[in-house]
């Protein structure tokens, strides 16, 4: 993911920014309300944003005007809830543009929509569904992180395919082209990210079980894998 600066046409850049704006407003509102109740989360979210930045700075090039890397959105969504990940994702993407020239300002809206809106909401939804049908914690965490990651990249493929439809096959052929190229790097990465997230949640369950119980998706579910 991370569509590069200036790559999207103006209409798409503005459109994706407008599509992301309500989620940012909702996320900031929810964050303000959450911080009033739990002020200690402020530091945690800031530190988590830095962690996410460090994690997502490990990148692999992909042949689609974009690049692939662990997103960390699954872990973030599981720990803080998908809404909190919108402002955190905004900060991470902004710093990636400002400190690494990775992504960009005109493509911030599109990147935000895929990485901080679609990815976290899919991860949280998959986690709830998996726990709802009785999957063990490790399985639910793996599926959530893996599918959250894939959803992020599928959204980026959709965005690129919409902006650059194939001259012969149109949108569908373009989507097949972008998604196919992404799949080469992203499928193994999604599995790795799923396994990595299970390891992290296991470590938290072992060393920080009490704090984990306070997190929205783990509350009252038994954190130990």
């Amino acid at each position: 993911m991370h569509i590069m600066e200036g790559f999207l046409p103006l209409g798409h850049a503005v459109g994706w920014s407008l599509a992301s704006a309500p989620f940012v407003a909702w996320g900031v509102h929810s964050l303000r309300r959450g911080l009033r109740e739990r002020p200690e989360r402020r530091m945690l979210l800031g530190v988590a944003a830095a962690f996410s930045f460090v994690l997502s700075a490990l990148k692999l090039p992909s042949v689609t005007g974009s690049c692939s890397h662990p997103t960390g959105v699954g872990l973030g969504a599981l720990l803080f809830g998908p809404l909190a990940m919108v402002p955190v994702g905004l900060v991470v993407l902004l710093f990636q543009a400002l400190l690494l020239a990775h992504g960009g300002l005109t493509t911030l809206g599109a990147n935000l929509f895929s990485m901080a809106v679609v990815g976290p909401f899919v991860a949280a939804g998959v986690f709830r569904a998996a726990r709802g049908i009785g999957l063990p914690l490790a399985g639910a965490v793996f599926l959530a992180a893996c599918l959250g990651d894939l959803a992020t990249y599928l959204t980026t493929s959709l965005q690129l395919a919409w902006a650059f439809p194939d001259p012969a096959g149109g949108f569908a052929a373009s989507l097949a082209k972008f998604a196919g190229i992404f799949a080469i790097t992203q499928l193994p990465l999604a599995v790795s990210e799923g396994l990595l997230t299970v390891l992290v949640v296991n470590a938290l369950a072992r060393f920080n079980a009490e704090e984990l119980q306070d997190m929205p998706l783990f509350a009252g579910r038994g954190a130990r894998a």
């Binding site: 200036g6 530190v47 962690f51 955190v88 710093f95 396994l195 990595l196």
Partner: protein, 248 residues
């Protein structure tokens, strides 16, 4: 970080971030309103020259910062040159699409110009000045707080990751693919636990100093901010005019 080094050591370090932000914004606008690929390429060249010659960013460093983005751009333009279409047997096959060349030229030069505008801003302005600029644009305080904390902790975590990787490598933790994956998992897990503890320690330290509100720093003072901003607006306007009506 290369960008950080340039941001703190360039001739425009003491120029108001509002002026640099305005000029970079004009560069972005110029990239999108460019009348032709040649005009967009001209905008990219002018912005790169401004960054290297006027702001004094070494060209070698500029190219090293831009290299990953340029590589992505080259690969992405290559992907646009191929089309996925049905072949004679009814299957899908990759086909050369020369009719996409004009569109690729437009996209590539626009991306180059926009990248040059972004680099002009980030290579001349340190993040604390950019955060102050965002504060003056009335960005919500809660987001600015996250940015300040994130920026502060980035270097701590980068150092922790580097040190842990060195320690793991010294114990042959990355000698095999399997070992490398396991080591990466251990690194991420231990870092996550560290994050939790550091965050709690920071919160307690802030509370001990009555710090229960937003994190505010003294804003930097910039001499001649008004004159620099006026100059940037004029130069930015000229750049947009050049892009819109320039080389056809």
């Amino acid at each position: 970080m290369l960008i950080e080094q340039s941001a703190y050591a360039n001739r425009w370090r003491r120029v108001s971030p509002v002026a640099k932000g305005s000029f970079a914004l004009a560069g972005l606008v110029a990239a999108f309103v460019a009348a032709s690929p040649l005009a967009a390429g001209g905008v990219a060249l002018l912005l790169a020259l401004a960054t290297c010659l006027a702001a004094g960013v070494p060209p070698g460093r500029y190219l090293r910062v831009a290299a990953p983005a340029l590589a992505f751009l080259a690969l992405s333009c290559l992907s646009l040159l191929f089309s996925l279409a049905a072949d004679a047997d009814g299957g899908l096959a990759w086909q050369w699409a020369p009719q996409a060349l004009p569109r690729i030229a437009t996209v590539a030069t626009r991306a180059l110009a926009a990248l040059a505008a972004l680099l002009l801003l980030v290579l001349t302005t340190p993040p604390p000045d950019l955060i102050a600029l965002l504060r003056s644009c009335r960005v919500p305080e809660v987001l600015l707080d996250l940015m300040v904390l994130c920026y502060r902790m980035l270097f701590v975590f980068s150092a922790a990751v580097r040190d842990t990787l060195t320690a793991q490598a010294a114990r042959l933790g990355h000698a095999t693919v399997r070992g490398s994956l396991r080591s990466l998992g251990l690194l991420a897990a231990s870092l996550t636990v560290q994050i939790w503890r550091r965050a709690l320690a920071l919160h307690r330290a802030a509370l001990a100093r009555n710090g229960d509100g937003p994190l505010r720093m003294l804003p930097a003072e910039f001499a001649d901010a008004g004159r620099h901003t006026a100059l940037a607006v004029v130069a930015g306007g000229a750049l947009i005019a050049f892009a819109a009506r320039g080389l056809q």
